[in-house]
Symmetry: C2
Subunit: 559 residues, 2 copies
């Protein structure tokens, strides 16, 4: 029996999983909570007096190394597996989560002279303070008619690599100058595990505007952003990109000593959590969408050709599975909308019933909402509580509910919120298909599918696609273990391709939700109404959402 280790670095914690390379069985999981978690108010002790602006979100790279040390050693201990039977290690990460380091990979925040500088720390994916820089990137990109822009829905997010890098240059030029490297935390951890600096094709493609055919944007583009930024690629990054499943290097003696793993075993090139989930749930071919559904939803589909569907987060060759184009789309709030509702808009009567029946609010609302027929509530919602990523790519849009009467009940609103997120998913599927990227079925993973069966049924009914529920609730870590097995290769006890690894290791889905034809018919009608509102408020006919947002900012309103 051979095993692979996958380590998934999340927002608040990291987790390691030990997977049977033959069957995909998960033998054990260990979770480690980061000591400093999300740093969004002030720097950690002893620098608490360094306060952060709103929208900042940092992390401490030491938390990642501590995760490696704690989880893997305990995993070996728990499972009793012989380290000699472990063929390799793979990791996946949130992204874009990036940091400045020295030439040897030391994070600037670990140097005494920079420790009190917020810009020396890791910028977490949800650091949103680089919006002015993102605006500049988008403006210059549009002016220069950059050919990469349509691959990213026409707009680069403030969360991504160059916005964050440019913010460092703008606000802390000394840090920018001192940084020999600006690097994804994912790649940095692999560097620390192996002693070898690599850049993976997934984060490079989705977050740093790299493409296999065109490479990075031209120097002239970066120069126009800021003359000092002209050589960011050649000075701070590297042009040599590694494909997913490649061996980044062998586990260093130091990293072996942290973990109890054998030195020299293959470490795979890093990956992004959502993207690693795709092979983990058995998807390595075009035609099937993988939806990672949680607070937000990330949608990934493979294609054999480059197409430009409207409103993608990114289209990257080799971005998910080597040899294929990976299409990524996103809904910026899904579970978050339901949580907003249960937190701020559910009356005591429903809370009381939940307590009485031993259910949570989602369960008691879902129980009532299940009894409603499609269309019975008379309500329609635009699911834009956190803007719209795909397909409108507009963070300034906001939520809308329509159809309320004096008889409207909480469970009716709840169901309508679920329906709205399903309409949002359908808009993404239709955008893909209109561009020639087929979506025949959906595999759902992440936290939501298991917890919210009504959402799954509604999603199937609304989209007219079967929704399979993935077996693993930690698909990212399992996908990383698959990539580890590929990095090992068949000669090393693993596999020679991710397709082979997924065929052997992906476990059968635990359930399938099939579209109900009669529900689908009603939803077809509701979806037409949804899209009419979607286009009216989302494509400039009525800019009221932007006007309100601007007024809110003028009046000092938050959120």
């Amino acid at each position: 029996m051979k095993y692979a280790v996958g380590i998934d670095f999340g927002t608040e914690s990291g987790r390691a999983v030990l997977v049977d390379v033959g069957s995909g069985e998960e033998l054990g999981t260990v979770v480690h909570q980061y000591a400093n978690g999300v740093i969004d108010r002030h720097l950690p002790a002893p620098n608490e007096n360094v306060r952060l602006e709103p929208d900042w979100a940092l992390q401490d790279p030491a938390d990642y190394i501590e995760t490696v040390k704690t989880t893997v050693a305990r995993l070996l201990d728990q499972t009793g597996v012989d380290p000699a039977d472990i063929v390799g290690v793979g990791i996946d990460f949130t992204a874009c989560t990036m940091l400045p380091t020295t030439a040897n990979g030391t994070p600037l925040c670990e140097l005494e002279e920079f420790r009190r500088w917020p810009h020396a720390w890791v910028k977490l994916w949800k650091h949103h303070a680089a919006q002015p820089e993102a605006d500049r990137i988008n403006q210059v990109g549009a002016e220069m008619r950059e050919r990469w822009l349509p691959r990213y829905g026409g707009r680069i997010s403030s969360e991504w690599f160059y916005a964050k890098s440019l913010q460092i240059l703008d606000e802390a030029p000394d840090i920018y100058r001192a940084a020999d490297r600006l690097i994804e935390a994912a790649d940095w951890v692999v560097w620390r595990l192996t002693g070898v600096e690599t850049r993976n094709s997934c984060t490079a493609g989705y977050k740093a505007i790299w493409s296999k055919s065109d490479g990075f944007p031209e120097r002239s583009f970066f120069a126009k952003l800021d003359p000092g930024f002209a050589d960011v690629v050649d000075e701070k990054m590297r042009r040599n990109i590694s494909s997913l499943g490649e061996r980044a290097g062998g586990l260093s003696a130091e990293a072996a000593s942290w973990t109890g793993l054998a030195p020299g075993i293959p470490v795979a090139v890093a990956n992004v959590d959502a993207h690693a989930s795709v092979p983990a749930v058995g998807v390595t071919e075009p035609g099937t969408m993988v939806a990672v559904m949680g607070t937000s939803t990330c949608h990934m589909v493979l294609g054999s050709q480059l197409k430009l569907p409207q409103g993608m987060c990114g289209v990257v060759e080799d971005g998910i599975i080597p040899g294929l184009f990976g299409y990524e789309a996103g809904q910026s709030a899904v579970g978050d909308i339901f949580s907003w509702f249960t937190r701020f808009a559910v009356p005591p009567e429903v809370h009381d019933r939940a307590i009485r029946d031993g259910l949570n609010l989602h369960q008691v609302l879902g129980r009532d909402a299940t009894l409603l027929k499609p269309g019975e509530s008379g309500l329609l919602v635009l699911d834009w509580w956190n803007g719209n990523r795909s397909i409108l790519v507009d963070v300034d849009l906001s939520g809308l509910m329509l159809g309320a009467t004096l008889a409207t009940q909480p469970h009716e609103i709840y169901r309508t919120l679920l329906e709205a997120t399903a309409f949002g998913t359908r808009a993404i599927i239709e955008s893909l298909e209109a561009a020639g990227v087929p979506v025949n079925r959906v595999v759902a993973c992440g936290g939501l599918p298991e917890r919210n069966k009504l959402l799954m049924q509604i999603s199937a009914d609304v989209t007219g696609r079967e929704f399979d529920i993935a077996a693993s609730t930690q698909a990212g870590a399992v996908g990383s273990a698959m990539h580890a097995a590929v990095a090992a290769g068949s000669a090393g006890g693993g596999y020679d391709s991710i397709e082979q690894a997924a065929a052997a290791m992906a476990r059968p889905h635990v359930g399938t939700f099939r579209p109900d034809p009669s529900a689908r018919k009603v939803y077809d009608q509701l979806y037409r109404e949804y899209m009419t509102l979607h286009d009216y408020f989302g494509r400039g006919a009525n800019d009221v959402m932007k006007v309100l947002r601007a007024m809110r900012s003028q009046q000092g309103g938050g959120g």
Copy 2:
């Protein structure tokens, strides 16, 4: 000292008030709860087995007589006033609340042979089962280009006189035939008090399509509704209409014996509650709007000429003050929307704070909402939870909230609901002014103004008009007492005109809310956005609200 009695007949109860004719001081009030209240499930004992359809709402005329008996006698008892010092009696009523009677005024439901027939009972204003008849009236009215139609916003309500009468003919032709009279309950009570049948100009004008210049609709119109309905006016009503403040007759010996009042004292022609409130709060001239604000809001303005502002409930010469045109508009839900919100959409945390601070939910939400600046919530609402009466006259419209984010808080939504009703009021004011009916200030009465100061300030800021708060919380009854004093005339210890009565008896307002210029500026911008949505959803560009309502009905949804 001279006194007048005003009796206000409400939906669940009636109240009598004794008013000092010289000063308007209210010496006492007695309330009587109707024994049978609103009859909307089944007929009263012993006929409980006669069940009513949904949307039915009946009353028992015996409850009105019992109100007269109970309240007036106790009022005299409580105040110790000498009946010889009481100059007259006036009453006001909900409308259109109507019933079939014999030629001598006996309600058909009091005859043994008709007592088990629902159509023999009083149809309360909120009896909504005559919608098919209202649809027919509107269709025929439009086809025949009836010139009265624009005076009623282009649409007659199912609540009004002919819809209810036609429903009797449609569903219970025997009752229709047996009815020598179809009469407003208001006029019926005056008939019972005096022995004289009168028809007042207010209900005739606002509910039975009478106008001083044109009389009732033509026979040909009624004939087209149903040949059997052709002579409804001449067979079941009377063409002779009495103006408000006229003496209907002297108090009959029988009615005197019920009440302890002196026989023969003047009884004024009946009136409608909201309309009686106008002189009660001191308004007898054009230029000032009276808003009776409660679960819904009724807006009344006087004008010296006939104009046809869009979306009125009615325009009636002599309908409020003799010699002037009375313009009535309405918002079909105001306080009801706020109550919906506190009932169905406020989380336990707010309930807990309310309990802790000894406040009700409106108070604790209002306290938080007062701290918000206009525009700070980033939200905008269309206040159509119960459709829109004025100015769109469309019961099928529904509520909309726009601008929600994951940070949106309950008190922000609450404030936005208040703002939306104020925008609705502004739309009415602008419709009136656009047609040449000036509205320079507003006097607010009813239950809401005293309870919700934030609503008053917002209403002033949004409309740019001062909002005065009326002193009396029972303006209807006080207005009826004023009309009683006019019926008595100066020779009888009262006044010769309602203007004189109001000048003497209306008490000073208890507060004034003045528009804040900086708030008004922000609201001007929000109101433009409100009206863009109002017109888009309300005037046919996007019929999604109607589509949703139709789908809801198909799927068996309620509300």
